[in-house]
Symmetry: C2
Subunit: 465 residues, 2 copies
């Protein structure tokens, strides 16, 4: 068991960040309300709190049974598992504390008390618009904000239940759908927009706006199911769950920040400020977790973190009405999901764990494989031919014996594919390269979103003009 | 391990309740919106779901480490612990599904999509008041409702964390305070009333209304800390946690129902409908739990249930603005807390468990005791004299030796006190009598609230005239 104490340097850094953030908050409390700056300060505090708690709570988690063995190390130590739960708790706390800074009341009501809360003695309408990106949200958005919190709490609880009870794969696939219910229910009551902008080429047939009605909820539910699960299946080596989530969060935040540069009041500014206020604390707690989960990992993140991260993205993109942008940033995850499909849907046998294999002699990771015995070749000829084709396209490592029978094929995950392309890599090198790939693909996605979108839509909704 | 299967009679009953409730819901979905009836139907479904899940999930909970030994039985079987978590999950699910039935939108906004959610194309103000107690809540209350859900989810998570990690007593005392933060934060942003009605006798000095300002939040936080903890310390025998909570919930619901008989629009009707919609599903899941937790218990409820129950009461009474009524219904818990004080605050040694002692020979419960050796008498003379005085007043069983030294005193809980008064009782008899006492005191409390309150306030806010 490694020490749970913070080093001297860590303690000093955390204390100075905390002091700076508290000073900013104290300043904000004196009436200089600048929600974005408050959100930054709370995110700094969230970073410090989760950093210290992840370190300190290790033994407590191990004692409660949250522990796992790191398979890709020489020393097969048990380390604390499910530390994403700490991040989720700190994050939710920060997000709740942010509420009074984020919203202004446009109706101040005083009642006679004693149960008669509906007798409004005095009504004061007070529209505050403090210009640019320091203004507060209108009170009417409070219920959207709260529904996001309810969804995030739900996914955290269900993720914890999964880590506790080890729910079966085909059940846990739908966990995010349950967690999305609060969001969708409140979206229905509170907002209820179900129309989308039609691409220029189709407008002659469909008109400029198409109301999808109930289908829009199906679409949102599909995004809500996909995003958390896709983070969860691109997992298995130290740091990868957190680093991919961080890249996506940073790109979403960068996209939000673009809108802060537009002349105010731009109609989408509020949505993107809203989104930023959910992303900044997430970046804070994720950085703290990454520090402990990066190679060589001191803690595991648990399914809780993967689901939670995926749901944060769902929440900001649905409430911010930019779920298509999210889909562009999830391209590596979508590729991983499609690539995994042959194993997920049973065309190719799927072992319980498909993470890359640790070669104890070299200390490097190699693609893990599905073995084929001469007697147990693919049941359908087409699968065999498909596997050999993928092998020729360098999309799979295929080993055949002298008589052309399959001996082994690498497992269908993007991590194994990367190792097929790049050869054996050390665990942190693989995580770093995958993260870089995620960043490159994501930047390209944002470019597509803001530049190429003009080819099929009349205007990009972000414009400096 | 007892069977996890439902008996034939149970299965038939659950199926028929489910069918009836689904029929009501289907009817409601066709536009005949009657929130109170929908709430009743959802509560019926919540009862069935938690009944079945508590039965089915027993082995899963035991496997995950949630198990305990029933001390007051001959066979010291291990049974599943923390089943309150199932109730909390089902309850929250029901409460979230209720949202679209409970609220109407008074502003219908359609936007151009594509991120521009703030461009309101059409605004339609639509005030629906379907009279009496079938009308829906105004949309402005949605954020109060959601903040209640956030608080309840928080307390459920923290309760679960307590059951998992076995948090120390002096830390867990403040768990409910954390869970109340969402409620108080949203109360501040959304509602913000901090004035109370001043009793007639004090009005010449203070005026009719007194604004407590920040103190009002301290008061609400105090109620929020007290209620869950007070349920949690009146615990220890089969069924008592659930039955006391059920009595309080039923009395609160009865109090709410009083207001449905008043001529509409009575200013407090909405608050009490609001409260009912939180209480009915709670009564549903609690009945299912009581069936399994009543003597002889098949499951334990866990701290999760006690905290959750206490928080449901806090939520309805704060949002309904009748927290004083709650205090009247918690009189037995307040008495138990005050009576426990000598042990809680260390004047008298406090063993880890103070539940009544099981006499294996008679099969009855007897008061558990704190032993005093001749060498280890109370440190301060006043404590010794106090203990003897309580003994003479029949408020404590005190055993002294020939020389007047303390030999043993019964533990300071209302359960032990009841056994001192009534002599040894079987476990279910004790639970039944305590529950009856709770009901009698509660009914008296409501009588005080509605009749005697006129002595110090100008009017009762419930009146048939």
């Amino acid at each position: 068991m490694t020490s749970t104490a913070l080093s001297r340097a860590e303690r000093l850094s955390l204390l100075s960040i905390t002091a700076a953030c508290v000073a900013i908050l104290a300043n904000a409390l004196q009436g200089h309300d600048k929600p974005l700056i408050v959100s930054l300060a709370l995110s700094g505090l969230a970073f410090c709190a989760s950093f210290a708690l992840i370190r300190w709570l290790g033994p407590t988690f191990v004692k409660a049974g949250f522990k796992g063995v790191d398979m890709a190390k020489h020393s097969r130590r048990e380390i604390p598992e499910c530390m994403g739960a700490v991040c989720a708790a700190v994050y939710l706390f920060a997000i709740i504390l942010f509420i009074p800074f984020a919203f202004y009341k446009d109706v101040v009501a005083a009642t006679s008390g004693g149960g008669n809360r509906d007798v409004v003695l005095q009504q004061q309408v007070n529209h505050v618009q403090e210009g640019r990106f320091l203004h507060r949200f209108p009170h009417s958005k409070l219920s959207s904000y709260l529904s996001a919190i309810v969804s995030l709490q739900t996914i955290a609880s269900l993720g914890l239940a999964d880590d506790l009870f080890d729910i079966r794969w085909r059940h846990k696939f739908f966990i995010p759908a349950f967690a999305a219910i609060p969001l969708l229910v409140v979206y229905r009551v509170d907002f209820g927009v179900t129309s989308i902008v039609v691409p220029l080429q189709l407008q002659p047939y469909l008109g400029p706006l198409l109301d999808l009605g109930g289908l829009y909820y199906v679409y949102m539910a599909a995004v809500a199911i996909f995003s958390p699960n896709s983070i969860n299946i691109l997992a298995g080596i130290n740091g990868i769950e957190v680093s991919q989530s961080l890249v996506i969060a940073l790109l979403l935040a960068a996209n939000d920040a673009l809108y802060l540069l537009t002349p105010y009041p731009h109609p989408a500014t509020d949505s993107h400020l809203f989104s930023l206020s959910f992303l900044l604390p997430f970046i804070g707690v994720s950085l703290a977790l990454l520090r402990h989960n990066w190679y060589p990992a001191r803690v595991f993140v648990g399914d809780t973190y993967c689901y939670f991260a995926g749901m944060v993205f769902v929440v900001v993109s649905i409430l911010g009405h930019f779920s298509k942008t999210l889909v562009l940033l999830l391209l590596p995850q979508i590729f991983n999901f499609l690539y995994s499909a042959p194993q997920l849907f049973g065309l190719v046998p799927c072992p319980r764990h498909r993470l890359p294999r640790f070669n104890a002699r070299s200390g490097l990771l190699e693609p893990s494989v599905t073995p084929w015995s001469p007697a147990r070749q693919p049941r359908w000829g087409i699968v065999g031919r498909g596997l050999r084709l993928l092998g020729r396209l360098r999309l799979l490592r295929v080993v055949v014996d002298g008589e052309g029978r399959l001996v082994e094929t690498s497992n269908f995950t993007v991590l194994n594919l990367w190792l097929v392309w790049r050869g054996p890599l050390r665990e942190d090198r693989l995580a770093l390269e995958m993260t870089a790939a995620q960043a490159v693909v994501g930047l390209f996605g944002l470019f597509v979103r803001h530049r190429l979108a003009l080819l099929i839509f009349k205007e990009d909704n972000w414009s400096l003009l």
